[in-house]
Subunit: 352 residues, 2 copies
Amino acid sequence: MTKVHNFSAGPSILPQEAIQACVEGIQNFSGTGLSLLEVSHRGKEFVRVVEETQATIKELMDIPEGYEILFLGGGASMQFLMVAYNLLENKGAYLKTGVWAANAVKEAKLFGTVDVVASSEDANYNYIPKNYVIPTDADYFHCTSNNTIYGSQMQSFPESPVTMVCDMSSDILSRPVDVSKFGLIYAGAQKNMGPAGVTVVIVKKDILGKVTRQIPSMMNYAVHIKSETMFNTPPVFPIFAMLQNLKWVKKVGGVAEMQRRAEERANLLYNEIDQNPLFVGTVAFEDRSKMNVCFLLNDTSLEEKFNAAWKAAGISGIVGHRSVGGYRASMYNALPMESVEALVNVMRTFNS
Amino acid sequence: MTKVHNFSAGPSILPQEAIQACVEGIQNFSGTGLSLLEVSHRGKEFVRVVEETQATIKELMDIPEGYEILFLGGGASMQFLMVAYNLLENKGAYLKTGVWAANAVKEAKLFGTVDVVASSEDANYNYIPKNYVIPTDADYFHCTSNNTIYGSQMQSFPESPVTMVCDMSSDILSRPVDVSKFGLIYAGAQKNMGPAGVTVVIVKKDILGKVTRQIPSMMNYAVHIKSETMFNTPPVFPIFAMLQNLKWVKKVGGVAEMQRRAEERANLLYNEIDQNPLFVGTVAFEDRSKMNVCFLLNDTSLEEKFNAAWKAAGISGIVGHRSVGGYRASMYNALPMESVEALVNVMRTFNS
């Protein structure tokens, strides 16, 4: 079978050795003679998996004391709601940089006032707003570090006068981040962390307990913290699979190496886009994402022929989101350089 | 390696062929050349998995027209909240038969009045209340068909004058149920349906849209229905694994055969408990669960010796929940008779 170059936007490529470790866990988990799929989540073997996953994230992201790590179901979309439930007393400040940020705004409005400090909606979210002011009377400031659909990325984070909350679903673990600047970071696992089915929440304990509303148990970060992220049955397999991926990240060099690889991949592809007269990038130069590279054919009548060319090269998953069109190459942590080289080779030799 | 007899309360035993199909899906999903863990949830291969899972549940449970099937994250505990969010306008009626039912009551109280129509809390939930009256002015009546911790089970359902909602997490697919009597059925998958990480919701569409509150998107059944259970990234692997298990249920004879097997297992074990002077059941005879069989040693000083005996026989997971003590043998759909025979054999030969 031809090798598939997997540029899927998420769920997305995982390292082969993590996939193999999942197979082994499903066949015989931790020497129990049982499948990972049929053991109690409260058994010592799985409790150890949860603890090791937390410890590995702490180590990889250099998370300071005072933060807790939760593994929740429901996806990042559930966090749009939980963030507001737990933190929004009077006013939440939001940076609107894409559809997911807009959804976060929408859910928060059910809980209080939302102040959109800046938005790039006017330009189909093709840039990251700058020079916005975060109101000092907001309960928190919410931003999205990387916008999967549009291919834009915050290259730095503001000095927020209030608790900073960040949806890092699509670029977590791809670059060093100073966690101490954030009160809460969340990420659906299915891009850089693992498979679909679990969302990682990194929360500073002292930001909680400040709203007056009663919070339903499953929405309450404090409840999940108190029960060591086992308030109810957690998504067992997705957590296990995430750990296998995190072990690989650690083994090959951690977040610094992930950053080096991301830059190497992104430089190669953006250089081709910029040098090749057939293609054009869709995002403001300084806001280009190193995870999701969006580009168009200048002559859309060539699409059919170009599509045939990349498909023939074993490339998968580069059709752009319907709201941008064209192409999107998602290049998460596990994507090897040879896949980017394969795509660039198709672009370079196309129609020439 | 000795065969393990897996009596785990959930996550719990799954058929070997479902486990093997999971391994194959992780290695090469549906001929894509990619792992199930790294494909888009919106690709045609996975959309087909979702549709086939829905169709198989419809067929196995003989679900009439007008119902939708959703696959959500967060576990049954999330449903305690979602049921109230979507259905509780003035008053919810609840049957309190265990800790999970009590948790459902607790969450619903945040949304309106809760009328506990009957409770067996006075006797540590060792029976199912009868002859209760469901108020006709309630928005819905909520019950728990099987109480995993206590080993009690509703042998029949009341004629409810209002929409009936049932948490069937621990006995779904173990006996035929007339779905048309229910407005909503939900079940965490990790007992009879599949692995942990997905919750099945079967909801009659016409019970929705009757509350005046604004419902957050992720809490809103109508939103999930409209997006064909893909409002956001679903728990991909747990859904796939569930389908493999459902295919096995269908192949071996469907729900009727699951019921026959459950009765055969339960009869064997309860007969031993009743005939053996060393043991005593903890639940009212007529309310005994065919899924979770709870029993005590009459002489607790024998516990250490009995524990050694069943462990030596390769039996796993029969330590009772801390709130009941003693022993609990959970006997879900995939548990073979030979495992029950192994346990009964240990009991029969113990100390004799």
